[in-house]
Amino acid sequence: MFDLSDLQGNVLRGYKDKPYVRYLILEIADRVVARRWLAAAISGRDHDVPQITSGDWGKAKPRTCFNIGLTYEGLRALGTPGSSLAMFPNEFIEGITARALKLGDVGASAPDTWPSPFNEPKRIHLIATIYAENVAQLDQVQQRALDRNALTLLGMREGNNFDGDFVHFGYRDNIMQPRFEGIHDPERHADGQPLAPLGTVLLGHPTNLEGLQWRVPQPTQLGHNGTFNAFRVLKQDVVGFENYLDQAASDLLTHPKVDEVLPPGGELKVCEVFEIEPPSRHAALREVVAAYLCGRWRDGTPLALSADMPDANVDRAKFDYDESSRCPYGAHIRRCNPRGGHIVQRVANNSRRLVRRGVPYGPAYKRDKSGDAGKTEPERGLLGNFIGASLGAQFEAMSCDWLNLGLQDPRITGSNDPITGTNDPATSWFDLPLKSGGTIRLRGLPEFVSTRGGAYTFLPSLSAIRYLGSLTA
C-alpha cells in the first residue's frame, strides 16, 4: 500500500468531521522567514506554527487540520530555482486568470471583475486552508499561522458544511470521489468505475492515459507526490436558480409530453420525498427539472438509476451511462464525468477525473414562497477545490470541452453546462430526454454560477515542503 504520510491530508481525505473551513490568501512577506515558517510547519515540534496535516495522522486524529498550496508566484517568491520553476506546466505558470477563456470565466465571471484579493493575482503566493470543528478553532489556528510575520494576509474566504451534506441549490453533495489504485480506502464502496491510477492525482505515478506521464518538476523531492489544485470561489445565484425552476415547471405543465417526465400521480411521491406541502404537480415538476439539470435528484438519487422518482434505496454511487440511460447527456454530473458512457473522445473516458473538495459559503437558503423580490440576499456560493495531477489534462480539459462546449456528445454540442456553465438566457438550451426517444427543450437558462476568484496552486508533498523550507539562495 502507498505511504500516505508524505502527502498533505486534504489530497485524499475529506476531513468530514471538520465542517468549518477557512482559506487564508497570503503573500510571502519575507523569503527567509517564510522558509523557516515552512520548515517549522512540518517539524512536528514547533507547535507555535500550525503543523501541516499529512495523509497519515496515525492514531491521534488532529483537532484541526491545516494544509497549504503555493502558486507559481509563491514558488518564485520562496526562491525556487529557475530550472525547477521551468518544469512546471504552462497552465500553472500562467495562472488561472490567464486561462479565463478556457474556463468560461467571461462576462460576470471575468477575472478583471474579481474582488480583492483576487484582483491582484500576482500577489497571491500561498493559500492556507484551516479545517476545524468551530470558528474559535479557525481563529486560533489563523493567529498562529500569521504570528511570525512570514506571511501577509491579503484576504480570506470561509464556509461551513451544511447538515446532511447539502449545498446551495439544495443538492446533496459529497457522494462521490475517485478511488485510487494502491490506496486503502475503507470508507468508500465500489462505484462501478475503474480504480483511478495514482497518477490521476499525484505526480510521478502512472496516469489513466496509457503510457503517458506528466512532467515531475525536479528535484524529485519537490515534484514527486505533488499535485495541483484549481481553487475557485463560485458564487451561486440561489434565488435565480429557484426562480428558473418555477419558470421551467410552469412551461412543462402545459407541454403535451409532460407525462413522460412526470407520470400522472407521480407528484405525490416526489412531494413526499422532498416534504413539499401541499403536494402539487408544479412543485414536483420543479424537482424534476432540478434533477434533470444535475443528473441527480436533489436528494442525491442518480437519474441513471431512477429517472421517474427519487429513491433512497438505490446506490447513489454505483451506476453507469448507456444509450438507454434516462440521465440527460448534458446533465451536470454526466458532463463532468461521463463514466463509461459513449463519448466522442474515445480515449478520454475516465481520464479527466478530479478530487473535489468543496464547502458552501453564505447562509443556507430558505425559500420564501411569498416571494423574494426586493430582498437583498447575502452572497452565497461554493469554495471549491478541483485537484488533479494535470490541470491541463483534467480540470481545464473538462471545463473547456465538456462543461462549456459539450464536445463529448453531438446531441449537446453548442450548449453549456446547465448549472455551472457560462449561460446566456438568449441562447442557452437544455434537452430533457423522454422515454419515447424525443426530447423537451428548456431554454432561457441564465448563468447560475459565476466565478468570483481563484488561483491555481501546487499542493506540495511534505518532502517538497521540507525542500522549500531548506532553500538558501
Partner: protein
C-alpha cells in the same frame, strides 16, 4: 503647412511602388526596424475564444523542418507517413474530434494540416495517448524533435513543441492583428500612428519577418459551427 503635408502624403503614398523603395524597404528599412523595435513572433493556432462556433473546426497548420534537407530526407519523411498511415488514421478516428488531416511535404518541411474540434492541447494529448509511437517516428526526422520524444514521456514539452510549430493565424482584419500584437506586448494603448491601416502596417511587416510562414484569415467553412460528431451523426456514420 497643410498643403505641404498633403504633398508629402502623396509622395509617401507613391513610394512603395518604386523599385528603389522596395529595395530599401526589404534590405535596409525592415532589418533596421526589426533591430530598433524587436517583434516577438505571435503564437500559433486559433485565437482563444469562448464562442462555441470558434471552438469547432479549428485549424492546425504544422510546419516541421526536416533534419535531412535532401531528396533522401524528404523520401524518409514520405516513407514514415506511408508506413504508419493505417495507425495514423485509426488514431485520428479514436481521437474523435478531427475533421480532416493531411500530411504534405513543402520544400524541406513535413507539414500536417488538420481541422479539429475543441481545445488544441486536448487534441494533441489524446493523439499522443492513441498513437504516440507514430508521432515519435515522424518527429524523429524533424529538427529539434529528438528533445521531445518519446512523446508519451514528454507530454507537456511535446504539446508545447507542436504549438510552437503551428502557424500563426493572421486575423481577417488588420485591426485584430494589431490587437494580437498589442496583447503579446502587454500593451493596452491603441495602435500608434505608424500603424496606419491604409498602408502596410509596420508591425505586420515585422511580424511576417519574425513569422515567415503564416495562415491567412480564418478560412472557408462549408458548414460552420458543427463538430465532427454532429456531422457524422447527421449522416448516419456513427460517432
Amino acid at each position: 503647412m497643410p498643403d505641404n503635408e498633403g504633398l508629402m502624403d502623396r509622395f509617401v503614398d507613391r513610394l512603395p511602388e518604386t523599385a528603389f523603395f522596395k529595395f530599401v524597404a526589404a534590405r535596409i528599412l525592415t532589418p533596421l526596424w526589426a533591430w530598433w523595435t524587436p517583434v516577438k513572433p505571435l503564437p500559433g493556432g486559433p485565437h482563444p475564444s469562448f464562442q462555441h462556433g470558434d471552438n469547432v473546426q479549428c485549424m492546425m497548420n504544422l510546419i516541421m523542418p526536416l533534419k535531412d534537407k535532401s531528396p533522401v530526407g524528404r523520401a524518409h519523411a514520405a516513407m514514415a507517413i506511408s508506413q504508419h498511415k493505417d495507425a495514423i488514421f485509426a488514431g485520428l478516428n479514436n481521437v474523435g474530434t478531427v475533421h480532416f488531416a493531411r500530411f504534405v511535404i513543402v520544400g524541406d518541411n513535413i507539414c500536417m494540416f488538420s481541422v479539429y474540434d475543441g481545445d488544441f492541447t486536448n487534441y494533441i494529448r489524446d493523439f499522443i495517448a492513441t498513437i504516440g509511437e507514430v508521432f515519435d517516428a515522424v518527429v524523429g526526422l524533424v529538427e529539434g524533435g529528438e528533445k521531445v520524444i518519446p512523446c508519451d514521456k514528454n507530454v507537456e514539452a511535446f504539446i508545447q513543441w507542436v504549438h510552437e510549430r503551428d502557424l500563426y493565424q493572421v486575423p481577417d482584419t488588420p485591426t485584430d492583428f494589431l490587437r494580437d500584437q498589442e496583447r503579446l506586448n502587454g500593451d493596452k494603448a491603441v495602435a500608434p500612428v505608424n500603424d496606419d491601416l491604409t498602408l502596410l502596417p509596420r508591425k505586420m511587416v515585422l511580424q511576417l519577418r519574425a513569422n515567415a510562414n503564416v495562415s491567412l484569415g480564418s478560412g472557408y467553412r462549408a458548414y460552420p459551427g458543427y463538430s465532427v460528431a454532429q456531422v457524422r451523426k447527421q449522416l448516419g456514420l456513427g460517432w
